[in-house]
């Protein structure tokens, strides 16, 4: 090994959108006030909805269990503030779907002490106990995917985890959440890494950081505890390096097989903010109540990185930071993969890594769509070497099965690089999202038939 393990420290292709990170990366994390009414949907993660364990009118303490996990691929939800359960009803979510949820009225003068639970002791806990602890803390991928972390960490029978990869890439433009977490929560990160090493059985951990966060890389390097096998790997800036597969290729040089998971190359990848949360919550047996969110974009007056209670309504958040009167679009997540918001009455969820507000001037998308001129820009951008232009044509002709069989449609992880570069402004990645969901539905229908 080693000798023939040459690689270029990065993955193939990719794009370089303007970063806009220096608008917020120097601003320390600040605590956000509690909204008078907090809205908590029971679906904040991928998997089964959480199951309510409280009733209307009940008073709850901050950190108290509100809902338990609805299955293995599910997590519980804890109260983000002390208050009264006003109503249990359907609440809006970003997808437009109404889901069961809670309206929690926060006590205005409460000290908002957080309840402590059964601590998970690093030295005595078994890997399974740590995984249980992570599930009980309600932890999901804070990078945006919101997939229950304990499921991801469970190494399947017959597989072996050698490297724990901590993802501090944060390749989305504008967002500086992970950057600030790395600068301010180094102890929590290393505590989290210790739990994760034990849970996965990995021999070493590597923290992957993009070169535009050199200060965070240096800081973490200095803080590495003597008793932890951790190294920091700085890789060149390129979108979408934060994707698990791209990160593994950049740092280790392996490719994750098509349709496979990182564990197929003996790696488990965990986001750095998730790691910090694990390191902070598990020693106290607490559940997750808040998260760091970058609020930025031309439409925001007080840009910054804020520690915001989960369930805080978006409207309250924007009122607090102040927005420009010419706002045009609001996104949850970054501008490359984030979702546009149509209703400000949705709330912050565990997967919300950023809120980007664009005013009319900053929205530069052209409405005019030209035919594909086969310029090949998308081919040169796709990080997994698909042929988006051809797939776009096939999607138009509804040849979804051909896209999946001949053109590896299902490998597309929807980074949006193709749409970003397309001079004809063809919404390629949107075509692929639709095509993928249709192919999935057809497959499911075939299996049940």
């Amino acid at each position: 090994m080693g000798l023939f393990n040459f690689h270029k420290n990065t993955f193939k292709h990719g794009v370089h959108p303007p970063e806009h990170k220096d608008e917020t990366n120097g601003l320390a994390i600040r605590q956000f006030p509690f909204a008078p009414v907090i809205i908590i949907p029971m679906v904040m993660h991928i998997g089964a909805p959480s199951e309510l364990v409280v009733r209307e009118g009940q008073e709850v303490d901050r950190g108290q269990l509100l809902a338990k996990a609805g299955g293995y691929v599910s997590v519980p939800i804890h109260a983000p503030a002390s208050g009264t359960i006003r109503k249990i009803t359907n609440v809006p979510t970003i997808s437009g779907k109404m889901v069961p949820g809670i309206y929690l009225e926060a006590f205005p003068f409460s000290s908002q002490e957080i309840l402590e639970g059964e601590p998970i002791k690093l030295n005595s806990a078994t890997p399974d106990e740590i995984l249980h602890g992570i599930q009980h803390a309600g932890i999901v991928g804070l990078g945006g995917a919101a997939f229950p972390t304990h499921v991801k960490l469970k190494v399947p029978e017959g597989k072996n985890c050698e490297v724990l990869m901590i993802n501090g890439i944060e390749c989305e433009p504008y967002l500086t959440t992970d950057h600030r977490v790395m600068l301010e929560q180094a102890e929590d990160i290393f505590m989290g890494i210790k739990y994760l090493l034990k849970a996965t059985g990995a021999k070493r951990a590597i923290i992957g950081i993009e070169a535009n966060k050199q200060d965070a890389a240096d800081h973490l390097k200095n803080m590495i505890p003597t008793d932890a096998p951790v190294s920091v790997s700085v890789v060149p800036v390129k979108y979408p390096q934060g994707s698990e597969k791209m990160l593994i290729t950049s740092v280790l040089g392996h490719e994750v097989p098509s349709g496979g998971l990182p564990i197929d190359v003996n790696v488990v990848v965990v986001n750095v903010a998730t790691t910090a949360e694990i390191g902070r919550l598990l020693p106290h047996g607490r559940g997750i109540q808040e998260r760091v969110i970058t609020i930025t974009g031309s439409g925001v007056k007080k840009k910054g990185n804020y520690l915001i209670p989960v369930g805080t309504p978006l409207r309250f958040v924007l009122e607090q930071v102040g927005v420009d009167e010419h706002i045009s679009e609001v996104y949850m997540g970054g501008p490359m993969m984030g979702v546009a918001v149509s209703n400000l009455d949705i709330s912050i969820v565990k997967g919300t890594s950023g809120i980007v507000v664009f005013n009319e001037k900053e929205v530069k998308r052209s409405k005019k769509i030209f035919p594909c001129i086969k310029c090949g820009a998308c081919v040169d951008a796709c990080p997994i070497s698909l042929i988006p232009s051809k797939m776009g044509v096939l999607a138009k002709f509804k040849a979804y099965d051909q896209m999946a069989e001949d053109y590896n449609l299902m490998d597309c992880f929807e980074c949006g690089s193709c749409s970003y570069v397309c001079p004809s402004h063809i919404p390629l990645v949107q075509y692929f999202r639709l095509s993928k969901s249709i192919v999935r539905k057809r497959k499911a229908a075939k299996q049940t038939a």
Binding site: M337, A340, S342, S385
Partner: protein, 339 residues
């Protein structure tokens, strides 16, 4: 404050900002020095031929769009490029009515019949020229010497030939360097060729300005550099090998590179994005095929020039190149994907 209606859209919410019409417009800018030099060497005859070709392309595109109840697409500038390229491949004394027909055919048969911009199989300008070559073999091979003294005061009489009449031959026709070599075995010196002070089609003579335009487009990432490089390299290597075998029979590789329409073809014709392959490896194959065909047609074919047919043939197989040569998808076996 927060009562505003928000716009929604699908991600990504930011774009790189390069637009198809911007690319097309820049191709026109890159061709302007070539066209200006054509007017300088061949005078108002060349100007008229180029203008008529452009106008006929734009008018045809507009008319066909209206005829098929579509919004006119002339604002994307692609019809202007087609017209400009067609004009630059015609001889300076070419009858204007024939040039007009060429423009109509280029747009109607070369582009519109396939579905317009983005769907053409061949470079439309070359389709127009190929039809003209078949229909008017004499007129399209009647050349005029460069730098005539009266080129700015009088246009060549032949350009005003009435439709369906025999063009008047001025009696001052000169042979192109390629024809001179092919039929009389006379070699033109390389610096005259590079600077374009020779007889030929209006825009194909000045290799220097053509390369300059190409470099501009490549620098702005609006042209695939692999196409001209692969074509020129193939021609150079193949003709160089032949020259080394027998320099009495075969022309020198420098002469091959700078004569005829090779430069214009390699830089501005073969690079038609729509009609060329999309993957880097596919593009190398495509360029190699064009280079090979150019050498074969020029040296062993019946015609002095073969760039047009070489590009058209390569255009035809370009979809197949795309089908056969695909990049290896991340995470799949390290072998070429079978179609």
């Amino acid at each position: 404050m927060l009562n505003k209606t928000l716009n929604i859209s699908t991600s990504p919410h930011i774009v790189k900002g390069l637009s198809t019409d911007t690319i097309m417009r820049n191709v026109v800018w890159a061709l302007l020095p070539v066209a200006a030099f054509a007017v300088y060497t061949f005078g108002i005859s060349a100007l008229l031929v180029i203008m008529v070709a452009i106008v006929s392309c734009v008018v045809t595109e507009h008319f066909l769009c209206k005829l098929s109840n579509q919004e006119s697409t002339i604002s994307d500038w692609s019809a202007v490029i087609t017209g400009l390229l067609l004009g630059l491949t015609l001889p300076p004394g070419f009858p204007l009515w024939m040039a007009f027909c060429g423009g109509v055919i280029a747009i109607a048969l070369g582009k519109f019949i396939f579905g317009g911009l983005g769907y053409n199989v061949f470079n439309p300008a070359l389709v127009g020229r190929a039809v003209l070559q078949a229909a008017f073999p004499v007129a399209i091979t009647t050349w005029y010497p460069a730098l005539l003294d009266n080129r700015f005061s009088t246009a060549s009489a032949s350009i005003f030939t009435f439709p369906f009449m025999e063009p008047e031959i001025d009696g001052i026709a000169g042979a192109t360097p390629l024809a001179a070599f092919k039929f009389d075995h006379v070699t033109t010196n390389a610096s005259d060729l590079a600077l374009g002070l020779v007889s030929g089609s209006t825009g194909e003579t000045c290799a220097f300005l053509i390369v300059l335009g190409g470099i501009y487009l490549i620098a702005r990432k609006m042209m695939n550099w692999r196409i001209p490089v692969s074509i020129l390299a193939t021609v150079f290597v193949l003709s160089g090998a032949l020259y080394l075998i027998n320099n009495q029979v075969y022309p020198s590789p420098i002469f091959m590179l700078f004569s005829g329409g090779l430069m214009l073809g390699a830089v501005f014709m073969a690079t038609d994005m729509v009609a060329s392959p999309i993957t880097p490896l596919g593009v190398w194959v495509y360029g190699g095929i064009i280079g090979l065909l150019v050498v074969v047609i020029r040296i062993w074919g019946g015609l002095p020039e073969g760039v047009m047919y070489a590009i058209l043939l390569a255009n035809a197989i370009s979809p197949h190149i795309d089908n056969l040569i695909r990049p290896r998808v991340y995470g799949t076996a390290k072998s070429l994907k079978q179609s």
